[in-house]
Symmetry: D2
Subunit: 301 residues, 4 copies
């Protein structure tokens, strides 16, 4: 058949890692796309499960530069990883879930072809979501000041940046500043700085509110704070949050529960909005609130 | 002395109602302003406590049209009332508290003259805060639809709009929609729709987060919801929230705990951001977070 | 057939009020019991829906004195009412639910005959649950003292006693004493004093813990307290809780959301454990925790 | 002067460890007691700071056997440690705090002599508090069963036993059983099993209720649970709580934040009430609720 012009000429397919059985759905989707005139590319780890892969195979960063659209087949964890990696390239993302639908992977294998047909025809809803860019500054100068510190870690997070107590289980004591203003010294299990996307993850378990994903705000959510009035705070996405480690046995910063960095007293974790946004595509009619109802068991009784 | 040009040529003074002892500070402040070449105006109820008042006396709405700046002497409750009334007129507001400083009235009687001197010289920080505009639509059309409903109440709120159970104490059952999308049916003591300003009032007591006052968002905070996963939600200030009463003995809508409206099954309470903002003036160096620390007893231990 | 000796010779049947369709299941159960040699009695309101009722019909209080066992067919609300009424008579209770199983009515219509067969044969689990006995003391003596107060209301509660704000929506200010000791002055929407049974009702929605039903304790759960550290408190079932109304527009005491009493400033609501307990029978193998899992949607994901 | 008979003939003094400056108050108190005919004993670590110590010096366990009363000078942390060690010996305990009064150390250095005079004369209030006895069972048998497990750790806790996620920061997945009944599988940062004493410590920060210290109950408080309805549960002090590690990177059990044990998948942590109780002495007029008011900043506004 004569391929019609499609909204996304080059599409990258990425499957969940360490999951050989993902090869089946990936190849079916690849053929489906190819038949519609789409140039299909695969990432290296996904292609490793596919024998005699007939499609172009690239590194993730290369896919980011080449593809107009990336389809992630896996769960929300896979999507978080791909979204962080692709964030600098402004590639549109679509999430297909093998199992129970996720917050970010809201298309099922069953409806995948139908949805992709619509998307290729240009029928979809685009949603932009903010990420966090975080730096760790470290280095003592002998008198407690921070002038001699240097940036020792730099990473993106799509869900959250968490400064937490370490293995020995005592509390972490941190000083929090926003835009250079002192907020408080806090003793707690940790402090979560969450994006709206992350507001339904760890932050929600720790008492934070649900934040609509289109907002440009950050949620500061303390985990088991010693002071009961240390409640979640919503601040502007334009703000810079700075967390200084004041005392702890072995504190650690976590980024999307994916990477981490061991902190020392005096280290500073800086969190701000990343300059690029994630562009998620959804089927027409997609409803964030419908997904919340489903995931949070609203209106079951 | 030759009066210097001042930043606010006409200033309205408003004291806490039903508080005759406010007359002393009001008159002191009036004379202080007059000496600096300011035209002083008083509201009618404040002037009622002052014998042979030498200043112009106007209705609140007239003050809103005439004054460049309004100084409210009282507590946060007084400021809420004045702010709502002055909202359409874009008058700048300053809050002086007789007693313990409030969230909105953060200048003490003791520092009043010093602060006002700076403000008249143009040294101040301006903070803009959103309000809510709320309507109640009522009227049955015999088949449960809402086509025949009409707007029966229209009011501004600076802190919050609350749809709550009534006197008999049963739960209220409401349906919530945001921008026309169905969110959930909720059974609870009530639902608070709070501005950032209101986030530190009733919403905070009910488990909501603290929201920075410069943000344009609304916090939907359920009070004692039957479903435990009905958590606070932060939505855009551009959204329209619609609450439909599905069932209750005698539900009621409250606006800033100041006015209320008795609801019937099928009535709809609509909440959106008001087109004007409140302009609060603070002394240079004012810190919202310093006030939070003070009011919430952070860092006392 | 020759009736075998049964564990409960006289059984009262009580159906949900204002529910004519309950007559069917009630009559089926009555015949089932009669065939097994049980003397069946009905309460007056239940019998009103049954034409030519062939069984003894008595007032609830008379049933309390006559019956060895009462079977309640309805929901948890019906069971709460019957339990309070039967509390002084130590009648065993069984709850059958027409619809979705409740915390107290954990037998379905489908398994009703099977379960009753076992129970009549003496195979069941007995669970004893505490109730609250509450008094309202009122009457001013001109100087704020309480010496001239008298008891103006006296009632039992199976779930909770709540002292709450009234219709105008302001906070209620109360003073709480336990065993004569001052605890605090609290400003809030209200204070719930819950039994373990009531801990999964209104108290849970308001942030209280789940309390195992066999414990003899009371949970004091504030609703939207102004002071964020006013957290739920668990006190001994041997304690006497006293709530004094310090200030409110129109406060009210609620008892099981079933009865209420309008309070005035200075009134005291006294809550203590009732001298009798409720005796609930369950099928062998009944698990409180299994019911919690079901009702609270644990382990669904 | 002729020493009067005292209520406690032999008194042990224990000071905060690694705190040389505690030697001064300890020696003052020792001389004070000696003058009143009391036999004074010191623990080895405390005596290490005292030159030419004229009093008997024993190991803690020996003190437990010899002393009628132990006076702990330090903070709540010191008291927790001493209480655990002395628990088997039923020695009465008094806590003196150098700084800000604690929940367990409620006598100040300033009032120490006055209070001790009263206590020696037999004027005091005795409060008994439960402890937890916890065991870790480990060892695989190749098929996931627990028959081949053996007890590898056995310890007392006065505040709490916590099964928590480890250093890598992922959630811990546990199965909870109470008295052999399955409660739920829980994914969270951890689960706290707290005594009433521990209810105002870590458990309170994590959303648990305050539990009156005289009660014999345990509070199960999840920390940041994935399922929002996994709320705190109050169970009988007669119950046995069993926590089975189902999955985690590197889970750990913590006991009073004092000792810990690294867990493996399949390990079981068993928690039950310890057979002995802690006997705390307080000055006449002591009020638990007054201390709560002070520590939780109730009624400050």
């Amino acid at each position: 058949m004569a391929a019609m012009p499609v909204a996304f000429p080059t599409v990258a397919l990425i499957g969940k890692y360490k999951t050989p059985e993902i090869a089946g759905p990936v190849m079916k989707l690849a053929r489906f796309l190819e038949e519609r005139g789409v140039k299909v590319l695969l990432d290296r780890l996904t292609a490793a499960h596919i024998k005699d892969c007939p499609y172009g195979v690239l590194l993730l960063e290369e896919l980011g530069r080449e593809a107009d659209l990336a389809i992630v087949i896996g769960g929300d964890g896979t999507m978080l990883n791909i979204a962080r990696t692709f964030a600098p390239y402004d590639v549109a993302l679509v999430g297909v879930n093998q199992g129970r639908l996720g917050f970010l992977t809201d298309i099922s294998l069953e409806t995948m072809f139908e949805t992709m047909t619509s998307i290729l025809e240009g029928h979809f809803v685009t949603e932009e979501r903010m990420l966090l860019q975080s730096e760790v500054w470290s280095g003592s100068n002998g008198n407690g000041g921070s002038t001699a510190q240097e940036c020792v870690f730099d990473v993106l997070a799509f869900n959250d940046v968490v400064v937490a107590k370490g293995f020995r289980g005592g509390m972490v004591e941190i000083e929090v500043q926003i835009d250079g203003q002192f907020i408080y010294n806090q003793r707690s299990d940790g402090l979560i700085v969450a994006t709206p996307t992350g507001s339904t993850a760890y932050a929600l378990s720790s008492g934070g509110p649900i934040v609509h994903p289109a907002l440009s705000v950050m949620a500061l959510v303390p985990v088991s704070p010693h002071t009961l009035s240390n409640r979640p705070i919503i601040v502007s996405g334009d703000s810079t949050v700075e967390i200084v480690v004041r005392s702890a046995d072995d504190p650690r910063a976590h980024f999307d529960s994916h990477s981490h960095f061991d902190l020392r007293e005096g280290d500073r974790v800086i969190v701000r909005r990343y300059s690029h946004k994630i562009k998620l595509l959804h089927p027409v009619g997609h409803s964030y609130y419908a997904m919340l109802r489903e995931k949070l068991h609203w209106n079951r009784d």
